[in-house]
């Protein structure tokens, strides 16, 4: 039964990785940018929620509401001012740019907030600690279920946006052929900026879940980026629902590894990632552009 519980916990953990990963998958799917600053942007989101909570005694879920538009604007401006220029210089420059952005974000947070470890678990109230006891050995945490539900809702929302709205269709068209998109009247630069805005805002949601379920400091971002990146690769680069599958596979691998020996948790996830990377398909789902 403890093994079944490990799988259940892995599913819940996978939901968290999927939330972190889908912004990364969106940016890769639309622009072919691997945003190495995605984890740090999620942490920036967590600190912004902390800032809101310092001034208003509300739940982090309420604190997220004013942070989302700020992150949307930040993502849009980031794309128009920094990433758009780097995109013109080939695939390597955006990688280096986001790597630099990651270092800048970490050191800015260090300067402003010090290296102290923080958490939003306390402010989240009973959500952070409540759980449902299914059997003697299987329990489902409220925050785990909420995170998995959040991941499904975000991915479902993104799927609906991409397939049923004109802006989403234009984003998919631009992802497939940006030059031709321009020729049919689509401003590809504006589409890229919208995609980055959405990705950064979703990153903030990931940052909130991270801050409630765990602790964070200015240097938490890169670790989260690795897990998100692994989820994206396992699920098939650029595939939205693949990130959920990838997150769940990674989460289950980690919890089963931890069941064998707590030291094996992260190692088991990395091994599954390497096995998928070495497989002929290179991902569990077919690689498709942001669909």
């Amino acid at each position: 039964m403890t093994w079944v519980n490990a799988v259940v916990q892995g599913f819940l953990l996978g939901g968290f990785y999927a939330v972190l990963a889908c912004g990364l998958a969106l940016m890769f799917g639309v622009m072919r940018i691997i945003n190495l600053a995605h984890g740090d942007l999620a942490v920036v989101g967590a600190y912004l929620i902390l800032l809101v909570l310092d001034h208003a005694h509300v739940s982090p879920f309420i604190g997220l509401i004013p942070v989302l538009p700020v992150m949307l604007i930040a993502g849009y401006v980031l794309q128009r001012t920094v990433l758009e220029r780097s995109l013109r210089s080939g695939v390597l420059v955006p990688l280096l740019t986001t790597f630099g952005l990651s270092i800048v974000a970490q050191n800015l947070l260090l300067e402003i907030y010090s290296p102290d470890v923080r958490s939003l678990g306390g402010q989240a109230g009973s959500v952070a600690t409540a759980s449902w006891q299914i059997t003697n050995q299987i329990s489902i945490s409220a925050i785990g279920a909420l995170t998995l539900g959040g991941a499904i809702a975000i991915l479902g929302g993104l799927q609906w946006f991409l397939s049923s709205t004109q802006a989403g269709r234009r984003m998919r068209a631009t992802a497939q052929d940006a030059d031709t998109a321009e020729l049919v009247g689509i401003d590809s630069r504006a589409i890229y900026a919208r995609a980055t805005a959405i990705a950064v805002a979703i990153g903030a949601v990931g940052g909130m879940f991270l801050a409630i379920r765990s602790t964070f400091d200015p240097f938490t971002g890169p670790t989260q980026l690795i897990f998100a990146f692994e989820a994206v690769v396992i699920g098939g680069l650029g595939s939205l629902w693949g990130t959920l599958l990838g997150g769940i596979v990674l989460g289950v691998a980690q919890t089963i590894g931890a069941q064998i020996d707590p030291q094996y948790s992260v190692l088991a996830g990395h091994l599954v990632f390497l096995a998928v990377l070495a497989s002929p398909r290179g991902g569990l789902l077919k690689v498709r552009a942001a669909t």
Binding site: R172, Q176, E182, L183, V184, G185, D187, R288, T291
Partner: protein, 240 residues
Amino acid sequence: MTLLSLQGVDARHGLLPAVREVSFDLAEGETLALVGANGAGKTTLLRTIAGAHKPAAGRVLFDGADITRVRPHDRVRMGISLVPEGRRLFPDLTVEENLLVGIQPKRPGRWTVDSILEAFPMLKPLRHRRAALLSGGEQQATAIGRALIANPRLLLLDEVSLGLAPVAVEAVYRSLETVLGEGTTVVLVEQDLARATKVAQRVVCMLEGRLVLEGTGGELTREQITEAYFGLGRRRSASQ
């Protein structure tokens, strides 16, 4: 009234000149056929008009406004649509989605998804099929529809018959007649000389990036066009 005016346009691929000092005016409602051998610069010229290729020199005027530095998507909003060589559809989007992405809210007009499906009946049963799964003729019809849905004032057609079976070419041109008959200004790049002279009111022939022959379809003989097309007159005078 002049809709499009090219003034001394030069375009290059790197250091290689593709279009050299091309100038011509196109009146509203006119259909112009641009003919020439492979590598004559027809596609580059069309892409320069559409904004997909930056000219090295010269000016492109549309409805009196200098659009030389205007980006391609803004030119579509102004009323210039290109049907690119090789169709360039979005393969993972359905026929309907390919049409929908081309809609310009600020350019309402006769062309909607339904009217395009009426004009190209072959697309009706394929509305929800992914573009990657279409035949060449069906893809070409979708590409023309995608350009038309922006309700352009100037339609640029690049080699619409290229790579298509004769039956598909017939079907595409039958549907195009509806478009041409409605007074849309058209620049047509076509390898098929007979078809080009039949469809267009004016024919312009390019050779090595330059305009070497210009006239109405009635004025020019097939021999004149063929000579200009292959540069035979020039070779003859060089050999004398």
